[in-house]
Amino acid sequence: MTKSPAAAAEIAPPSNPLPGFNLTLGFSVVYLTLVVLVPIAALALKALGLSWNDLWILGTNQRALAAYQFSLTASLAAAFINALFGSLLAWVLVRYEFPGRRFFDGLIDFPFALPTAVAGLTLANLFSAHGWLGRFLVPLGITGAYSRLGVVIALTFVGLPFSVRTLQPVIETLDVAVEEAAACLGAGRARTFARVVGPTLLPAALTGFGLSFARALGEYGSVVFISGNLPGTEIAPTLIVIRLDQYDYTGAIAVALVLMIFSFALLLTLNTLQGWAARIEEP
């Protein structure tokens, strides 16, 4: 029996009847182009018009290299601390029932809600010699304000929610039965964690690490308050601001280009990581 064309059309998946595709996609693309892509193109075109030699010298001179190095070190340290405490916080908030859990869970987003300038201002004060924390820490030799350590503290603060919020949903979906099976088969708690829980959480932990690292690399607002502009505490965004203040546009563009290349590489890595994490979450 051959199907009539009309019957075939009924069986074929119906085309999407929803309206507005051209309008919404068109508006989105135009708006994206105007707000995001044109400004980025302005930087790229400006850089093309400059001498490569000047850009190279200004982008790789001693001061710039020191700034990249400190940016990378401080951001890595902050992302690492966040991965560590973020895992602990995510685990405790998902797995344990205790008084105040809701409150502490809500508090995690606080660094996103608090303007970074205020975070820098209050952290610098807390860790200064007369601050609530500094008065105990400074005599021990721990100077958490106007120092390199202070920059790490500020970057840790702004990045904390990323690692907690990427780990929480994965811990929620962990099948407790798998842990029980491991325990029944004689694995101890440490071994169950290392062999069963750990590998499942790894993609999310790495994603959280990458997100807080990316955020830390670009951060400026909180750092400017806590670094005290002392030698050795200069991060790459600070150097851009300093060069712009001196009307050294070529110098600012050179550092901005290096930062952008870092950011794009990170964005691509993170997209790959999130794809990996999504595959593990939905087996």
Binding site: L25, S28, L133, P169, L267
Partner: protein, 284 residues
């Protein structure tokens, strides 16, 4: 890269029985860390603001330059948040309800502003509209000032807060599918009617959530607006820039007094977020 996702509703699953000593020491460690690292900084803002009593606090807040910083901050947010919310809605509709080539690329491009340092974002607009920028000579010929003036600050804020609403709405709208809209259309509803009566109500908590996050960032942005602001007190200072200026004048109270306004913004954002989580859970 995606921003924080909404705290999902959850009741703790029945876990493996942890030894109480392990459980409570982990809880204690987490609570102490959060109290010292997140709660103490907030309390400190208010404590420092009132460290010398009411009168220096009040003097800092009643300064006309602080008033104008409040107005500029509100204006920047009032322009940039609605624009990015409209973009978020249109982008989410196209991406969540339709399949098309280049969707993955579009999603990545929407994330771009998250990956770019705010300082670089500010620089982009200086290169576009500044005196030495592409549009500089034309703007000067027409006596228009964008950089070192409020329009540049609005543009820089638009850039850094660009992904917030879209990123929040896309997964919410995607999870709704399109059966509801198809049913409404079959029953004779028009396109706009379907959007207003069916789609919008089903994503409203996600939309509000994206808007409050977008607003918190728009009002609190520092790096990007620092670069494009003229730093003229009373004219191109937003609240975060005003805090910075007072801090550099070594005033012990005033920066904290102005910061309490931003601290209250953060507290209001957190409370609204908690309320939206609660509302969203109740409707599930």
């Amino acid at each position: 890269m995606k921003p924080l996702s909404r705290t999902t509703s959850r009741s703790a699953p029945a876990p493996l029985p942890s030894p109480p000593a392990v459980k409570w020491s982990l809880i204690a460690l987490a609570a102490i860390f959060l109290a010292i690292f997140l709660l103490l900084p907030l309390i400190n803002v208010f404590a420092q603001a009132f460290a010398r009593g009411w009168s220096p606090f009040w003097r800092a807040l009643s300064d006309p330059d602080t008033g104008s910083a409040v107005r500029l901050t509100l204006m920047v947010a009032a322009i940039s948040v609605p624009l990015n919310a409209v973009f978020g809605l249109t982008a989410a509709w196209a991406i969540a309800k339709f399949d098309f080539r280049g969707k993955a690329l579009l999603l990545t491009l929407i994330d771009l502003p998250f990956a770019i340092s705010p300082v670089v974002a500010g620089l982009l607009f200086v290169l576009l509209f500044g005196a030495n920028g592409w549009m500089g000579p034309w703007l000067e010929a027409h006596h228009l000032k964008v950089i070192f003036a409020p329009p540049g600050m609005v543009l820089a804020t638009l850039f850094v807060t660009f992904p917030y609403v879209a990123r929040e709405l896309i997964p919410v709208m995607h999870s709704q599918g399109r059966e509801q809209e198809e049913a409404a259309l079959t029953l004779g509803a028009g396109g706009w009617q379907t959007f207003w009566r069916v789609t919008l109500p089903s994503v409203k908590w996600g939309l509000f959530y994206g808007i409050i996050l977008c607003n918190a960032r728009a009002m609190g942005e520092f790096g990007a607006v620092w670069v494009v602001s003229g730093h003229i007190a009373g004219e191109t200072d937003t609240l975060p820039l005003r805090v910075d200026k007072l801090y550099n004048e070594f005033d012990p109270v005033a920066p904290f007094a102005v910061a309490t306004l931003l601290g209250l913004l953060a507290v209001a954002t957190m409370l609204l977020k908690a309320f939206l989580d609660w509302k969203g859970r109740r409707e599930l």
